[in-house]
Every structure is written in structure tokens, then in C-alpha cells.
């Protein structure tokens, strides 16, 4: 079972939890599982191109359309990063 690390500002959508366990074995399905269990996170995927994904600390280069081909192993740690910006 992989786990998704939720950055601090997004934990309001996970009841304060830092980690969410997912059973699916590819990234696309894991993201769908995450949103299904925590619907507040759905809006993050309105602009998927802005999401950066790290697996075990390494930044994933695949674009969101290719996430279905990214396999997740037991104990993999997936971190989602949404950029912060200002004017």
C-alpha cells in the first residue's frame, strides 16, 4: 500500500492527516482514490499541469496524462506539491 503525503496547507481537506494510504497500484488510480476519499482535494486537479508529484523524494517528469503508466509499489511515498504564487 503506497502512501500520499499531503502538504501542510492541504491537510484541512484530510482532517489534519499528513498521510493518506492508497491501495491502487498506478498513480492515476491512486489520485482518483485520494479524491474519492477526500473530496475537498478535487479542486486541486482543476489544473493538473500545475501539480508536481514526487515519488520517494524524486520529482516525476511524466505529465498527468501519463500518470496511468506510473506504477506504485508497496511503501512508495507520493508527495503532491501545488505551487504558491504572488504578484
Amino acid at each position: 500500500m503506497a502512501q500520499i503525503i499531503i502538504p501542510s496547507p492541504l491537510r484541512k481537506h484530510t482532517g489534519g492527516k499528513r498521510e493518506v494510504q492508497v491501495e491502487r497500484s498506478n498513480l492515476e488510480d491512486a489520485m482518483k482514490e485520494l479524491v474519492a476519499s477526500h473530496p475537498g482535494l478535487k479542486t486541486l486537479f482543476d489544473r493538473p499541469a500545475l501539480i508536481s508529484v514526487f515519488i520517494n523524494g524524486s520529482m516525476l517528469r511524466e505529465k498527468p496524462v501519463a500518470w496511468g503508466s506510473v506504477s506504485l509499489a508497496e511503501q512508495d511515498e507520493v508527495t503532491l506539491i501545488i505551487p504558491i504564487a504572488g504578484g
Binding site: 502538504p7 501542510s8 496547507p9 492541504l10 491537510r11 484541512k12 482532517g15 489534519g16 499528513r18 479542486t43 489544473r47 499541469a49 500545475l50 508536481s52 514526487f54 520529482m59 508527495t79 506539491i81 505551487p83 504558491i84 504564487a85 504572488g86 504578484g87
Partner: protein, 186 residues
């Protein structure tokens, strides 16, 4: 779980306020450190603790990188700025900042390791506008960019370099200001 949205005041020590001011003045002077994007704009993160309705700033984390010119972030920023930025003497392509994913992740990890809550981000305004000579509030663009972030946006006015000011606005909304209690001596 204490929520940022419940915070009614923010405590900022003199030492940390000095650290923020030093960062802003250093960038304004064009004195860049290794690995830093050479732009005269300062931006960073404030982290700390929340006790009921009081947030206490414990740490200043500067962002060294502005990913404003890196795709796909550049296209996103160009689009938002084209629609919402107030005309200014500074060209649009030189305005705005957006975090580098790896630097932001490292900042979050640092906060987790130290048991700190991310309170928000700060950036500075330096150019006075005719309709807003002090520039100590979020612009319309700031508000759009911070919407739904769940974080405070701290605005540092450095229009008058000798009299810097800091104000905090939940999600960059000018109507949702939370007072900052500056420790004596600030």
C-alpha cells in the same frame, strides 16, 4: 486540529521581523546569494504554531527560486497576470513570483520535521501606485493567486525603505485581514 481560518491575531517577534526585513532589503539591493534567482523581489514562507485563535511565527523560510520563467508555470502566470495585474511601470514578464516545486517541497518537509505549521507566504511591494501609494495590501492579482490556498498572505510594504510595514490577509483577501502583534522593539 487548530485551523488557520480560526486565527484572529498573529504574533511576530522582533528578531523574525528583522529577518524578513533583511531578506527584503538584500533582494532590493540586488545582493543575491548562491542559487538565488537574480530578481529584486523577496518572497518566502512563515511557519509557526497555532494556539486557539493565536498564531505565533517561529520560522522564516526564504524562497531562493522564482519559477516564473519555467513552463508550465510561466504560461499559468502569464495568463493570470494578463487578466488581473494592475498596470505598473514594471513590465508584466518581470512581475509575479511562483514557487519552485523542489524548493517548496523541501520547505514543507522542514516544517514537518520541526513540528511547525505553515502559516503563509510573504512578498514585498516596492513601487508606489497613484491610487495606492503605500502598497501594504494585496493587489487584485494577489487575491486571485492566493484564492483557496488556505494560507495567510503577508504583504511587506517597502515603498519607504526606512519604514517597512507588514500586514496579513487570509488567502490574500483584503477583507480578511488579521492583525499582526509585533513584539516590542520591532
Amino acid at each position: 486540529m487548530a485551523q488557520l481560518s480560526q486565527v484572529k491575531s498573529i504574533n511576530l517577534s522582533a528578531a523574525l521581523w528583522d529577518e524578513i526585513k533583511s531578506h527584503c532589503r538584500r533582494k532590493l539591493a540586488g545582493d543575491f546569494i548562491e542559487g538565488e534567482t537574480p530578481v529584486r523581489r523577496a518572497y518566502g514562507m512563515l511557519a509557526g504554531d497555532i494556539h486557539h485563535d493565536l498564531a505565533i511565527v517561529r520560522k522564516v523560510i526564504i524562497f531562493k527560486i522564482n519559477a516564473r520563467t519555467v513552463e508550465p508555470l510561466k504560461s499559468y502566470m502569464d495568463d493570470v497576470m494578463g487578466r488581473y495585474a494592475t498596470p505598473s511601470t514594471t513590465p508584466l514578464e518581470q512581475r509575479g513570483w511562483i514557487t519552485d516545486p523542489e524548493e517548496l517541497m523541501a520547505s514543507y518537509e522542514l516544517c514537518d520535521r520541526q513540528g511547525l505549521t505553515v502559516l503563509g507566504t510573504y512578498h514585498m511591494h516596492i513601487v508606489p501606485w497613484e491610487h495606492d501609494p503605500v502598497r501594504d495590501k494585496p493587489t487584485r492579482l494577489d487575491t486571485v493567486l492566493a484564492r483557496d490556498s488556505g494560507l495567510f498572505m503577508f504583504i511587506i510594504s517597502l515603498v519607504d525603505e526606512s519604514r517597512p510595514m507588514i500586514r496579513a490577509f487570509m488567502e490574500g483577501d483584503p477583507q480578511r485581514e488579521v492583525p499582526i502583534i509585533l513584539e516590542a522593539g520591532s
